[in-house]
Structures are given as structure tokens and as C-alpha cells.
């Protein structure tokens, strides 16, 4: 069974009497351990798709099963629990709480999960070690570079051992070199068996992932899996011809 199953999912907004279909009848399966990118120009519906997949939003129509649980009809409280336990987020603007230090930021999901102080500390330090940020645990986010902040944010996303990690333009606010190291980190995490989904408008970044899903006008325009078609044999950090064609 797939980790994520979308069947006929639509998200419809009403703006001034006009019906806007941000997502239109989307079917999608994602298996555990996949490294996927969702690409598409702004307004294509990729953010909406990520919000629904990330349980931040509920679809208007259709069925969405995450890890076998139906999400479309879940209550806000259940969604909060699922976000806490099964989903990790990495944002473009890092979104660390400025008043807390790195360690406290990473501990935060476990605070809402109700873990004890010692367990929180140990697991947070483990997560920070994974992203090589354990020596910055007591720093405030403002004292760190962008790349370091994003590493801390990734540690926070991983700390509750989620089923899937969503990264929304994770390199959008970083210079290209730092961005590349972050992408390498994601690749490394993927190799360890984690399910990761990158959301980006940049085909260069999407080229890193074996599977690429392109969204246009609320529909899946392309769903290419390099592993299945044998075109992808490892991470590429250069622009591939095939990707350019899709952009």
C-alpha cells in the first residue's frame, strides 16, 4: 500500500462568486522512501497540493489516505496530531522561533507530542548531530547563517521521525552554494530511507530527485519517475535536458 493515496482530490475556492479550482481531480500515489519534487509555476496549485498533503488544509472533494488513515474528513485536532507525528516541514524562510535557541526550536514538536524533558533533549541532540548542527545548539537563530538555520529547521522536521518531510522552496532564500549543500543533505536523508518531497518552481532543484511531478492549472501535467524509466542514475546537480523540456 502506498504511503499517500490521493483519489479525485479537488480544492475549490470561491472568490467573488468565481469558482477557482486550485486542485482539480488529482490522483496521486507516493510510496515510502521516495524522493520527489513537485514543480510548477506560481499559481499552478503546487502549494495547495503541498498544504493538503501536509495536512495543513483539507480537500473540498476526494479522498486522501496518509499511511492508511483517511485525512479528508479528519478534525482539526486530528490533523494537528498527524502534523505533529507523521509530517515534517521545512520552509523557505526557515521559520525558527527567534526567541528560542536552536535546541529549544528542535524540541518544540516533541513538546506538543508530550515527551519528557530528558527524552526531548536527547532526541533533539541526535537530530542536530544528523544535520551537523550539534555544536550550535545553544545559539539563537539570529546568530546563525541562512544555511545553518535551514539545517536546524531540517533537524526540527526530522525530530519526531515523520513518515514524510515536505520542503517548500528550501533553497529559495539561500545562495546557490549553500542551497546545494542543503540539497545534498536532503539527498543523504533520502538515501537513509526517508520520504522527502521538495516543492519548488526551479527545475534545477527538481533535477535532484528521481521522481518529478509537474502541476499546471491544478492538474498533474507530468509524473516522471526516472527510476522506472531508467533515465536517472543518481543525483544530478546540473540542469538536465529532460527537465528543461518540462519547464
Amino acid at each position: 500500500m502506498a504511503l499517500i493515496e490521493l483519489r479525485g482530490v479537488s480544492k475549490i475556492y470561491h472568490l467573488g462568486g468565481e469558482e477557482i479550482r486550485a486542485l482539480d481531480n488529482v490522483d496521486l500515489d507516493i510510496n515510502g522512501g521516495e524522493f520527489i519534487s513537485i514543480i510548477g509555476p506560481s499559481g499552478s496549485g503546487k502549494s495547495t497540493l503541498m498544504h493538503i498533503l501536509g495536512c495543513l488544509d483539507s480537500p473540498t472533494k476526494g479522498s486522501f489516505k496518509l499511511d492508511g488513515t483517511e485525512i479528508a474528513t479528519a478534525s482539526a485536532r486530528e490533523l494537528a496530531r498527524i502534523r505533529n507525528q507523521k509530517i515534517g516541514f521545512v520552509f523557505q524562510f526557515f521559520n525558527l522561533l527567534p526567541k528560542l535557541n536552536v535546541l529549544q526550536n528542535v524540541e518544540l514538536p516533541m513538546v506538543y507530542a508530550g515527551c519528557g524533558a530528558r527524552e526531548r533533549r536527547e532526541r533533539a541532540m541526535d537530530a542536530l548531530r544528523l544535520v551537523e548542527m550539534d555544536n550550535r545548539a545553544k545559539h539563537r537563530p539570529m546568530q546563525l547563517s541562512g544555511g545553518q538555520q535551514q539545517r536546524a529547521a531540517i533537524a526540527r522536521a526530522l525530530v519526531n521521525s515523520p513518515k514524510i518531510v515536505f520542503a517548500d522552496e528550501p533553497t529559495g532564500n539561500l545562495d546557490s552554494h549553500t542551497g546545494e549543500t542543503i540539497l545534498k543533505l536532503f539527498h543523504e536523508l533520502s538515501r537513509q530511507g526517508r520520504t522527502i518531497m521538495l516543492v519548488t518552481h526551479d527545475p534545477e532543484i527538481a533535477a535532484v530527485t528521481p521522481r518529478k511531478i509537474e502541476i499546471r492549472d491544478g492538474k498533474i501535467a507530468k509524473n516522471v519517475d526516472a527510476k522506472l524509466s531508467g533515465q536517472h542514475d543518481g543525483p544530478k546537480f546540473a540542469v538536465g535536458a529532460q527537465v528543461q523540456e518540462t519547464a
Binding site: H51, L56, R83, F91, L96, L97, L108, V111, Y112, R156
Partner: protein, 484 residues
């Protein structure tokens, strides 16, 4: 997220915005301290008023006064004898709910003289020694007259300090406390020996004012000495605190009942039979015509008033009924007497205190409310500032309840810290009030008022936090994350 965590997060947030939190708390601090200080002031006033009530004999004291004979008994008017010693003995024998009976004979138009000085005392009373106990007098120097003095109708008197001040000089004028025990004075040209003197009665306010005057250097007078016109400068004020009660008590002379009866009643009846009987005042219907012929030979036996003490204040009604039954019997069924208690005064005090407390409480409550509005205002500003933070918290798994609790706890913690500091400030405020007005009734901080003020501040904190907490918890995480 458990409660301890939520409180820690709240404290951290308050600490992160120290100055803003302090300003917010100030509203609560002032509200709580004004509520406590107001209640302390009212309590002080209440104590002052109650002290005056006790000084006049307390609630247990009831006076039996003469009353006009009711219309349906007018035909028996010549049988009415008024209040006499008969009633005293009857009450003592037959009314167990009455613990003390004190007969009083008063005479007005009395002049006491010593050398060239003279005074007309406000209370010139012939009575029994137990009047000292009933009227809460304290004989500070000498002694009260006893049964032998009464039996022999001796010319002895016990005076209040106001009489001493007039005839011998007050401590303020003379510079020392004159104790005139053993001295002789004239009362209506009769020689009386002073055998005792009461202590100086004064309210707490006057006492403090007097002590303050003592410490101060005397005022420097400029220009030639002159009278500065009329006015009450330096005089005691007869306000709600009941200063007049103390003046009245100081202006008292007690002599034995028999002395009064024989020396003054006998003398005055012959001297003023034409002007009627003063001891009866306006109720002259029975005395006017009926007693005319006999009164020239025997002094008027009627008492001016009869004071009784009720054994138990809770049995006031029963005791009065008992006294009434006894008195109706000894008055041959003629109801020419009535009872006067201090209940009205006590009720007046209760009403006044309730009113003070109400108006002061409302003002203090309004200031607490304003403090609460301040909290709500700052919490709303704070959540607007933290929309993004709330979005992040929700994205990583905070539920509605988690965010709601966080904001509410913050608001309540501000209120609690404000409330506790308000309680500390209130004690300082009360100290300040005592310094500012040293002659006022000492404010008394009560535990109830502190508990009430603190409870109120916490309630205000909860109420002020509800709306911002709801608003924050309702935020949509997607929009909150996009918020700049």
C-alpha cells in the same frame, strides 16, 4: 503540552517583553492596591464608628424613657406615676434577661463653681455606682461613690476631665495633668467633695491629633495677641466618627442618687414649681396638675431615665418584652414609657459602611477592569505580532487547545504577578495614607479584601485573555505562515 510547560512559556514571553509587561501589570497593580487600600480605609472608619458606639454603652444598653400616655388611657392619666425606684426593684427581681438596672436622675441648670471659674456640666446625674460599668466609664483617679455615700446622701462627686479643665485648668494650659481628687467645689452653692475623676475620653483620631500637636513646636504668633474670631480651630470635630460622644462623656458629673434626690430635687421643686418639672420634659400631662400639692413636701421621686443592660444581644426582643411586662405591671397598666436602643445607630453605621464600601469598591473595580482591558489590548497586539509564530507552532502540531492555553496562561500570569505585586503595593499605599493623614482612623488591611482583590485580578486576567486566546487559536496555519 502540559500546564507547567504552558506557564513556563508564558513566563518566558513576559520576561522577553519586560517593559511592556510591566506597563500592562501596572493597571492590575493599581487596581488591586486601590481595592485593598479602599477596603482598609473603610474598615478603619468602621472601627472608629464602632468605638464610639461602644463608648456610649454598646448595643446592650437600653434606655427606658418617659412617653406620653396613649390616648385610650388618657382617663387614667392621674394614676400614672412615671418611672420610679419601684421599677428598678421590680426589674431587678422579675426580669432575668436584664442583667443590670441603673436609675438616673438628672438636673439641668446646674452651675459648678470654684473661685471665679464656673461651668454648667452637660450631664449632671445622680445615679448608682454601677452606672460606671453600664456607660463604659473608667475612674482613673480616686474612686466612685459607694453604697454608704448613697445611703447618707453625701455631697461627693466624680467628674469628667472637661469639668476639671474648666475649673482647674486643662493639661494643655497648665502644662501638667491636675488631679483634683480631694478638692472641694460648689454645685449650686452646695459644697461637694471631688472623690474621683474619669479618664480622658477621646476618639483614636483626636488622640493621634493631640499627640501630633505635642511633638510639634508651638506655633509662632505674629503681631499683638488677639482673638481670631469664631471658628472651630483646634476644636474636636463631631463627624461620623462620633467625636461628640466623647465630648459628652468628658462633660459628665456623677453624684449619688440620694444626694441628687434630696439636695437638688427638694431644692428645685420649691424654687421652680411654677415652671413645671424639668425632669419630665415635654411629657407633663401626668405631672402638671396631679403632683402639685405633694411635691412641695417630698422631693419628686421620679427618675429621669432608667438604663438597663440586656444579658444577650441576640435576645434583645425577648428581654425588652420581659422588661415591658414588668414595667406595665408596676405602672398599673399605663404605658407611659418607651425603650430606646442603640440599634438604629448601629444600623446607621452598617448602612454608612456598606455605602462607602460599595462606592469605593465600584471605583476600585472599575480601575481593575481598566487594567483588564489593558491586558486584553496588549495580548491582542502581542498575538498580531506573533501570527507567524502561531502559524509555525500549528504547523508542527500545536492544537487549538495548545495555542489557546498558551495565550490564556500568559494573560493570567500577567494578572497573577500584577495581583501579587498589587498586594505588596497596597501595604505600602496604606502606610503612605497613614503618613499623609496621621489623625484619621488607622486603615486596617483585612484578609478578605486581599483575597477578594487577588481573586478579582485573576478573574480579570482570565476574562481579558479569553478573546485574544480564541483569536490566536483560530488562526489558519497556512495564512498565519504567509503573514509578514
Amino acid at each position: 503540552m502540559n500546564l507547567i510547560n504552558a506557564i513556563l512559556v508564558g513566563l518566558k514571553e513576559i520576561w522577553a517583553n519586560k517593559f511592556r509587561s510591566l506597563l500592562t501589570m501596572l493597571g492590575i497593580i493599581l487596581g488591586v492596591s486601590s481595592l485593598v487600600a479602599m477596603s482598609a480605609l473603610v474598615k478603619g472608619m468602621e472601627n472608629g464608628m464602632k468605638a464610639a458606639l461602644i463608648a456610649i454603652g454598646g448595643l446592650e444598653k437600653v434606655r427606658v424613657e418617659d412617653q406620653d400616655i396613649p390616648i385610650w388611657q388618657q382617663h387614667m392619666a392621674d394614676q400614672a406615676v412615671g418611672t420610679t425606684m419601684n421599677d428598678v426593684h421590680s426589674l431587678l427581681h422579675s426580669a432575668p434577661l436584664i442583667t443590670m438596672v441603673v436609675p438616673e436622675m438628672r438636673t439641668r441648670n446646674v452651675t459648678m463653681t470654684r473661685g471665679s471659674k464656673s461651668i454648667s456640666p452637660w450631664n449632671f446625674i445622680g445615679t448608682w455606682p454601677n452606672a460606671v460599668e453600664l456607660n463604659q466609664h473608667v475612674v482613673e483617679h480616686g474612686r466612685i461613690f459607694n453604697e454608704v455615700d448613697d445611703e447618707n446622701a453625701r455631697n461627693v462627686c466624680v467628674i469628667g476631665t472637661a469639668i476639671r479643665d474648666a475649673l482647674f485648668g486643662s493639661p494643655e494650659q497648665v502644662g501638667r495633668d491636675i488631679i483634683p481628687v480631694g478638692e472641694f467645689i460648689n454645685i449650686n452653692q452646695q459644697r461637694f467633695k471631688i472623690i474621683g475623676m474619669f479618664e480622658h475620653y477621646e476618639s483614636e483620631q483626636d488622640k493621634k491629633a493631640r499627640e501630633l500637636m505635642k511633638d510639634k513646636p508651638p506655633e509662632v504668633r505674629t503681631g499683638p495677641e488677639r482673638a481670631k474670631g469664631y471658628g472651630s480651630k483646634g476644636g474636636s470635630k463631631g463627624s461620623m466618627s462620633g467625636g461628640f460622644v466623647y465630648d459628652l462623656k468628658n462633660n459628665t458629673v456623677y453624684i449619688p442618687l440620694n444626694t441628687m434626690w434630696l439636695r437638688f430635687r427638694a431644692a428645685t421643686v420649691s424654687a421652680s414649681s411654677s415652671s413645671g418639672n424639668y425632669s419630665r420634659g415635654s411629657s407633663g400631662t401626668s405631672s402638671g396638675s396631679g403632683s402639685g400639692s405633694t411635691s412641695e413636701f417630698l422631693p419628686d421621686p421620679r427618675l429621669s431615665t432608667l438604663s438597663i443592660k440586656v444579658a444577650n444581644i441576640d435576645q434583645m426582643d425577648e428581654a425588652l418584652q420581659q422588661a415591658k411586662n414588668v414595667l406595665m405591671h408596676s405602672h398599673k397598666g399605663i404605658e407611659d414609657f418607651s425603650f430606646r436602643t442603640q440599634e438604629n445607630w448601629s444600623e446607621d453605621i452598617g448602612t454608612a459602611i456598606r455605602n462607602y464600601r460599595m462606592s469605593g469598591g465600584i471605583i476600585a473595580a472599575i480601575s481593575l477592569l481598566v487594567g483588564g482591558i489593558g491586558i486584553m489590548n496588549i495580548m491582542l497586539a502581542s498575538i498580531t505580532e506573533r501570527v507567524r509564530e502561531i502559524g509555525i507552532r500549528k504547523a508542527i502540531g500545536a492544537t487549538f487547545f495548545d495555542v489557546f492555553t498558551q495565550i490564556l496562561v500568559e494573560s493570567v500570569v500577567i494578572a497573577i504577578i500584577g495581583g501579587v505585586s498589587g498586594l505588596f503595593t497596597s501595604t505600602m499605599l496604606v502606610e503612605l495614607l497613614i503618613k499623609l493623614s496621621p489623625t484619621g482612623n488607622t486603615p486596617v488591611i483585612t484578609m478578605e479584601s486581599m483575597v477578594l482583590a487577588f481573586g478579582f485580578s485573576v478573574a480579570v486576567g482570565v476574562l481579558a485573555g479569553l478573546f485574544p486566546a480564541f483569536k490566536a487559536a483560530k488562526l489558519n496555519p497556512i495564512q498565519a505562515l504567509r503573514y509578514e
